[in-house]
Symmetry: C2
């Protein structure tokens, strides 16, 4: 089942208006959720929408709260998200980060007390399409064991790095678990194995079975100790740069809310015209394409390429949706 | 065999003076190589010193060249390393990054046309001990296949993230390969297997045999496609932020020289007194220690903790050296 972009956006907007968003913010928030489904990340698009509405109705997310400046240190500013909608807080802080970056060459916004931004890559694309490089990450509740441990004390803290390019930006969007929770849930529902080990089973052995991993709650950090270490540093910096909570502190709340995020922009157009930037990026991609392939009919993709292809296809054919979830969404009271 | 810190430093300094370093720069460069061995990274300390001298004598590294400002964009500056000694260029740019950061809250130095910085963690410790957070990375020659390919088109581009702390900073220093080249060479020389798969053998199967991996030149990116993607983004940003070469372009030279580096500092003391920073970091580490252990006598280490322990032990007992390498160094003509 496929739904047109307009249909999905209008439907989500209608529901957001009903739970207390004003018109402008409902439109933006609906378009972020729709875009995430459009590029193939339904787990942080349509499929997550019912939970998002649920958190609003339970009072965890305040639909009218906006990020407020709490302190300024030149090219680095701190905002308090006031537990507003995560995608809108992240959108506003990406916007503000670009303004600071334009003034100072590099700029940083730390955002505390915010909520799940859904798909971090959205903000990478947003900055890159405006000509900026962006390095951004969020912390999360504890959902990954530290290396050497079996219970979750570390977040999988998704990291986004984006670089502009005329033919479509290069955007990395990755969680510190080998597989994102959303990816494992999707595989588990489809009763499919993961392509490589993604965590531990109840006996403590590495496994490709997503259901087993979700039941032990022991996903594998990417690169074993390396992903665990990177997640710890991203968490520390998120808390210190935003003045907000660490993963450990978020874990003391009944559900994940009040997370910390960082947005660092670099206005590379101040050193090189965008033609030169395009040339550097295009040359790198062209060189990747010359690699000898593992599989004859394989292909080397650059980060963000799959999203771009999926986006084009879905713009033309409509956005694939799970009919059960679509019906759940349109019947949200 | 163990050598005292002073003996090693004096010996390296003596040789550096002989190959054209002035007194001040010889002292600093010798102390960086010595420190790297002191914290247990001999592969980028004493063991790499003969090659470093060789590159100077072959003219790849100019001992008297210093990084020069090439352009300034507010809180972001670009330096040309003029093919000077990598550790000294990185030292000077870390220093300059901290000055800019003090002025603007966040600061960035891009360094092009430089050489191997040896152990990136050195500069993380340097910034963190001065109270700054640092995010820094370098690109390298192509030494890792992109995901889906079998030949090297991507660098393993080590990434450093450092956060200050009174009892010893938290410092991540990791290459994008599951194991650094130095680590695999050490294991290969000792005829020891790696603890987990580190790359591919000649049949294209994953293996723990470091000799097999070094012979196929197919090390595994950390987290498979994820490390490959992260390495591509770090390379692009290194080239664009510094105005320097990408990994692909470095690969066109006969040996690795003229690499690109980025140093981003955040003066977290402008938002939180260091007592508060210590509290945040100490709490996170204390929480990690409460994790249930995989192995009863195991321990959860934070990034940088092993280096700190090794450093203390070696300061007391002397720095362990391979006698053959020590003799090779002291007899450098």
């Amino acid at each position: 089942m496929r739904i047109s972009l307009e249909t999905m956006k209008n439907e989500l907007e209608r529901i957001l208006l009903r739970v207390g968003f004003d018109k402008k913010r409902a439109t933006l928030c609906a378009s972020i959720f729709t875009e995430n489904s459009l590029v193939g990340v339904a787990s942080h698009g349509l499929n997550r929408f019912p939970l998002f509405i649920d958190y609003i109705r339970q009072g965890y997310v305040n639909p009218t709260a906006c990020a407020q400046l709490s302190s300024s240190h030149g090219a680095w500013e701190q905002y308090d998200g006031q537990l507003g909608p995560g995608p809108l807080n992240a959108y506003d802080c990406t916007q503000r980060c670009m303004e600071i970056t334009r003034m100072h060459g590099i700029g940083c916004v730390g955002l505390c007390n915010t909520n799940h931004w859904m798909r971090g890559g959205y903000f990478g694309w947003m900055a890159a399409e405006a000509g900026f490089a962006l390095i951004s990450w969020t912390n999360t509740k504890p959902n990954m064991p530290p290396w050497g441990g079996t219970d979750c004390h570390v977040g999988n803290n998704p990291l986004v790095i984006a670089v502009p390019r005329e033919k479509g930006p290069v955007v990395l969007d990755m969680a510190m678990t080998q597989f994102s929770i959303g990816r494992m849930e999707t595989a588990s529902q489809a009763a499919e194995d993961l392509p490589i080990d993604g965590g531990y089973d109840v006996e403590g052995n590495l496994t490709r079975n997503p259901t087993a991993i979700l039941s032990t709650n022991r996903p594998l950090p990417l690169g074993y100790w390396k992903g665990s270490g990177l997640a710890i540093l991203l968490d520390l910096l998120a808390a210190l740069v935003s003045g907000g909570l660490t993963t450990h502190q978020i874990g003391q709340r009944e559900i994940e809310h009040g997370v910390s995020q960082v947005f660092i922009g670099i206005d590379i157009s101040q050193a090189a015209c965008l033609t030169m930037v395009n040339r550097v990026v295009d040359q790198l991609i062209a060189d990747l394409r010359t690699a000898t392939l593992v599989e004859k009919d394989g292909m080397i993709l650059y980060p963000g390429e799959r999203a771009l292809r999926t986006r084009r296809e879905n713009l033309e054919k409509g956005i694939p949706v799970d009919p059960a979830i679509w019906n759940q969404v349109i019947s949200i009271p």
